[in-house]
Amino acid sequence: MDELDLLKQDWKRKEQELPKLSYDDIHKMIWKRSSSIVKWIFVISILEFLFWGLISFTLKDSEGMEAYNSIKDLTLMKVLTYFGNAALFVFILLFFMNYRRISTIDNAKTLMKNILRTRKTVNYYVWFNLVYFVIFSFVIIFLEMNYDEQLIQLHDEFAAKGNETMFYTVIYGMSFIFVIIFAVVIWLFYRLIYGILLKKLNKNYKELKQIEV
């Protein structure tokens, strides 16, 4: 007899050693809370949408941005704001459409693909936000230079002393550093989420795809 047949035989024999749960044990279990990665992905994604939504609202409404009032009625600003809101709406819609597609009765590969696709939607939204955030910041800085009286005054003071270049360097340099720090923090956060949540999934998905090569 082949070794593998022997293994198969033994596998069947071992069924008798398996634990046996009662009807009540199983009945209790069906109402317990799931801790699957799909649930985690859903919660984290919703938190991300909230986070980014909140960031854009506080940015636009904070008192610290008083100077912002002088430019908020400009067409360019309005367009940018509408664009940001529309993107949020579209991404949330896409996210829910993809999320609903996740089903445990699909085959393993399709299930993994759909989970990854759902996650990717949120990722694209975050990257979109980073780019949008950078553009938005620079547009604001640029407009403030021309519309904000305090800033114009400061500029004139620097210019009078012949330090105009330094003025621009400081303003743009600081903005640049701020954006870089922000992007790195976001990137690290993502590495962490991926590290924790999707390591196993990515590995298994790659494994399945390799079988087909």
Binding site: K8, R33, S35, S36, T104, M112, K203, L208, I211
Partner: protein, 164 residues
């Protein structure tokens, strides 16, 4: 879902719980994790039950949802306690049933299976459960030919363990 459906589901699962236990033994290495995974699979089966249509066999459907949970959805429980680790697949083999050599061979093969990656484990599991290749390919989402090729490779690997 109504009470009747609930009752049917629990009864069906109770009758076929061996399938879930076997998957738990393959994919976990201690009693806590075993129970944890069993519970998660039960929850996922129950959640997917409304989508179960009578035209497929309950067990076929179970293999798919249960394996999907073990391979993809399940996150290892944090409660894991190292000292409690038990040998998951190499259960005690009753001495009177096999001679020493066979016992040794089985142990080696079970150990080798334990070392396989999640996907290969799923293949071996379905093979040991006597599922045909059409079924294996549909459960994992790979072609039948590739399932066969991959399984043959794993078989060779297991034989190599015995005859290095």
């Amino acid at each position: 879902m109504n009470k009747e459906q609930e009752h049917t589901f629990v009864t069906l699962l109770e009758e076929n719980q061996n399938i879930v236990h076997k998957i738990c033994r393959l994919y976990t290495s201690d009693a806590d994790a075993h129970n944890d995974l069993f519970q998660e699979i039960t929850i996922q089966l129950w959640k997917a039950y409304p989508k179960f249509r009578g035209d497929a066999k309950f067990t076929t459907w179970m293999y798919r949802v249960a394996l999907n949970t073990a391979i993809t959805l399940y996150r290892k429980s944090k409660k894991k306690i190292k000292t409690q680790e038990i040998e998951p697949i190499s259960f005690k083999i009753k001495a009177e049933e096999y001679d020493d050599q066979v016992e040794q061979q089985l142990r080696l093969m079970y150990d080798a299976i334990k070392e396989l990656n999640d996907i290969d484990k799923a293949l071996v599991f379905l093979y040991l459960e006597d599922r045909d290749y059409k079924d294996i390919s549909e459960t994992l989402g790979i072609s039948e030919v590739n399932a066969r090729v991959k399984m043959n490779r794993i078989k060779t690997k297991l034989r190599t363990v015995l005859n290095p």
